[in-house]
């Protein structure tokens, strides 16, 4: 078949470029050290958190962080969230969102370069790769080499290592959802619920492919965040920049001696910055979506600059504004001024306000809640003495990890009495005692009777009061209904 290219000589354009393998070179330096540190901290948090214990007494799990889907509870150290308090989680998500705005407007794509799981695991995988296959040059050589037994063995070993890391990654996730030691035992014994195995399977598969093979493709093609971030950065946000006014025109193979030639920039075109880049881009082409601002190119170039005796910072963290000032011969603003500026301060204020409001709300929770639902079929019943009775399903939530004695009372309904299905109207007194088991909802059916004379609809209040804790009460409004006059 004749291909279109043959006929026209025009190449088909594609929006998708096939992946060119990236073999980033190992690098040392201050940002690499920072990256190690962030990696250690984030991975430690991820793996260790589910194993932390937190004593909540005999009625609640002792896992410090637990998303207990089966019982619809979320435990985080001293905080316990019930499903109806989901707004705390919404608040946390909003804080996370504003936190990202804050970080991005201040220090650019710091999340991408250091803390994003995709970055962290890709980094781990690249280190494993370097450890098995050698550094950049050895990797390229090995990739080109014909398939021999030793290459096959290396490859198998590498993929086995990748898989092991993937399993460890997927495996750690499930411990957030059940008691970690029990689940680990069940998981190994084959007794864990199917969903646990499925979750580990899916996360293992995604870690293996995303971290092992797709790497920067995820950032460039799959992740929406780089696009969103572009909108949140401005001329005052820090980003990794090649100082073109200082580096250009570049000249290859230059030694210190020839640098006196004033027509030459500082860049010696050694490509060290390109070789270390984990996403395989050339930062000298200007800011671009592929750059995750990991700053490894800064480390690489700084070494080169030191070697040739030029000041560091040919590639550096700088704002676009600074770049312009510096290119025009001025001095950039101090770092503190770059980070603390109105925009970041506004974000921070918002972020902190939401955080404080949530902390305040958490502190003020009574951990006791009541809701009442009126029986609609029938709405009211006439009793033999002529009084009218309505019935209600009252739910009392005891959100504390201990059983509690509470009493439910009614107010604002003259001459009314309330009693539970076990009690009787004759014995009914001012309040109805109810035992609520620890950390659960007690459902009681309450009958309320009042004289027939009165408004057809009468609002009144159910109050639940904890007998063992002064001041812990909760109320809910409800309605008492009577038949129309004349019936």
């Amino acid at each position: 078949m004749v291909s279109p290219e043959d006929l026209t000589g025009l190449k088909k354009k594609s929006l998708y470029a096939k992946r060119e393998p990236v073999y980033p070179k190992a690098v040392t330096g201050r940002f690499r050290r920072l990256k190690w540190l962030v990696m250690a901290v984030t991975l430690t948090i991820y793996y260790v958190t589910p194993w932390l214990r937190w004593d909540r007494g005999p009625y609640a799990p002792d896992q410090a962080v637990l998303i207990d889907l089966a019982h619809r509870r979320f435990y985080m150290f001293g905080i316990e969230i019930w499903p109806h308090e989901f707004y705390y989680v919404a608040g946390l998500l909003i804080m996370a969102g504003i936190g990202l705005f804050l970080a991005t407007s201040a220090v650019g794509r710091a999340w991408c370069g250091y803390a994003c799981p995709q970055t962290v695991w890709t980094d781990v995988y690249q280190h494993v790769e370097r450890w098995i296959d050698g550094d950049r040059n050895a990797q390229i050589r090995l990739a080109k080499a014909p398939w021999t037994a030793s290459k096959l063995a290396r490859r198998l070993f590498k993929y086995a290592a990748f898989l092991a890391i993937a399993i460890a990654t997927g495996g750690a996730w499930i411990f957030y959802f059940a008691d970690a030691p029990t689940l680990l035992r069940d998981f190994i014994a084959g007794d864990a619920p199917f969903v646990a195995y499925a979750t580990v399977g899916v996360l293992t598969a995604t870690t293996f492919t995303l971290g092992g093979f797709m790497r920067e493709q995820v950032c460039i093609y799959m992740c929406p965040w780089p696009r969103i971030q572009t909108a949140m950065m401005d001329e005052k946000s820090l980003t990794v920049t090649y100082k073109e006014w200082r580096g250009e025109p570049r000249a290859r193979g230059t030694k210190k001696a020839t640098l006196v030639d004033l027509n030459r920039g500082d860049c010696i075109d050694c490509n060290a910055c390109v070789a270390v880049c984990p996403t395989g881009i050339d930062i000298r082409n200007g800011p671009q979506v592929g750059c995750i601002t990991c700053a490894l190119c800064i480390d690489a170039c700084d070494r080169v600059m030191t070697q040739i005796g030029r000041p560091r910072g040919l590639i550096d963290y700088a704002t676009l504004e600074d770049c312009r000032t510096e290119a025009a011969g001025g001095t950039p603003k101090p770092l503190a001024k770059t980070i603390f500026r109105p925009r970041t301060l506004i974000y921070f204020t918002l972020w902190a306000a939401i955080g404080l409001a949530m902390l305040f709300a958490l502190g003020a929770r009574t951990r006791l809640d009541i809701s009442a639902q009126q029986e609609r079929n029938p709405i009211y019943v006439r009793l033999s003495d002529g009084d009218i009775r309505n019935s209600y399903t009252v739910k009392i939530r005891n959100m504390e990890a201990r059983p509690r004695q509470v009493e439910v009372g009614i107010s604002d309904l003259p001459e009314a009495v309330a009693w539970t299905i076990e009690g009787s109207r004759e014995a009914a007194e001012g309040t109805v005692p109810v035992n609520v088991p620890a950390d659960s909802v007690a459902k009681v059916k309450l009958f309320v009777a009042a004289p027939a004379a009165g408004p057809q609809e009468d609002d009144f209040v159910f109050t639940v009061r904890s007998l063992d804790m002064e001041g812990a009460t909760a109320t809910v409004e409800s309605r008492f209904e009577r038949p129309e006059e004349g019936r």
Partner: protein
């Protein structure tokens, strides 16, 4: 068909179609999409063989796996039956008076009764058991034949005024229309409305009181408080099965009432009847068992269990 050629700007072959100068480029579907499409076709073919697929008149073709949705339903029903079996036999083995001793059993009986009620009882008593004119409200605290769980159970089991049944709840109020004059009936009505607190005592009511003592007190008691042994309603309370206004009371006296309820023994199994009793008792008007009967039940229990 026009000649195929290559479109210059995009470098893509055209399909050879042209409408008003607009040409269609040959941009085939992505390979992965086609594969997914072929895989769906293959999946469909396998599905048609394995599962019921072609609708026939009264069923669908049987698949190679022999699976049907009704079969699955039956399986699940059987499973549910098996799950409930121990509970049901426990209810069957427990005398009705003792059901409440085991809250778990009682709760299960109430829930079972709730669904049985929806099937057999709502036609007369209403879905919320609130009744209507002539059909008692089972939520209130007024009982014609007794409101403890054993009495309720007996009523459900044997029905009310079932002609073919010996044990049925039976009683009959005479129609006084032929025996008393309209004036006398009006006097009686005035008396009944007086004792139920609906109007003030007057001369007519005083005359009615005399008539009541002669004609009605035998069943309704001298004070009109009724007699559960006879299903004679309490005339002094606020609850009226047919209505407490003068006209309705007059009609009742003149023509009498003859409410019937089917007996459920023989139609429903004994466990369901027990569960119905538990449910009706739980509605909010259920009474405690009289002490004497409880003692009796205690006795049978002791005798029955060696």
């Amino acid at each position: 068909m026009a000649e195929k050629r290559v479109d210059e700007p995009t470098g893509t072959e055209t399909m050879g179609h042209e409408w008003d100068g607009i040409e269609e480029l040959n941009t085939p579907l992505p390979r992965w999409w086609l594969w997914a499409f072929y895989a769906s076709i293959a999946w469909a073919a396998v599905y048609v063989v394995l599962y019921p697929a072609w609708p026939l008149i009264d069923r669908a073709t049987a698949g190679a796996l022999g699976w049907t949705s009704t079969g699955q339903l039956e399986q699940e029903l059987a499973k549910e039956q098996a799950r409930k079996a121990p509970l049901l036999s426990a209810i069957a083995a427990t005398p009705i008076e003792r059901l409440a001793d085991d809250p778990r059993l009682m709760q299960a009986a109430i829930e079972g009764g709730r669904s049985a009620f929806k099937v057999s009882c709502v036609q007369c008593h209403g879905s919320g058991a609130a009744g209507s004119k002539g059909y008692p409200n089972l939520n209130d605290d007024d009982w014609l034949w007794g409101g403890d769980i054993a009495s309720i159970h007996f009523t459900i089991e044997h029905g009310i005024r079932q002609p073919d049944h010996d044990e049925t709840r039976m009683s009959q109020m005479p129609a006084f229309g032929g025996m008393l004059s309209p004036d006398q009936i009006a006097d009686l009505t005035a008396h009944v409305r007086t004792i139920s607190g609906q109007q003030k005592a007057d001369v007519a009511a005083a005359r009615g009181a005399e008539l009541f003592a002669q004609n009605c007190a035998a069943c309704h008691g001298p004070g009109g408080k009724g007699d559960r042994g006879l299903g004679a309603p309490n005339l002094t309370d606020a609850i009226w099965l047919y209505g407490g206004d003068a006209e309705t009371i007059g009609q009742t006296i003149a023509n009498s009432r003859y409410g019937v309820m089917p007996r459920w023994s023989g139609r429903l199994d004994p466990v369901t009847i027990k569960m119905l009793a538990a449910y009706v008792h739980s509605l909010g008007g259920g009474e405690a068992m009289p002490k004497s009967q409880m003692a009796e039940a205690e006795g049978t229990k002791a005798d029955g269990q060696p």
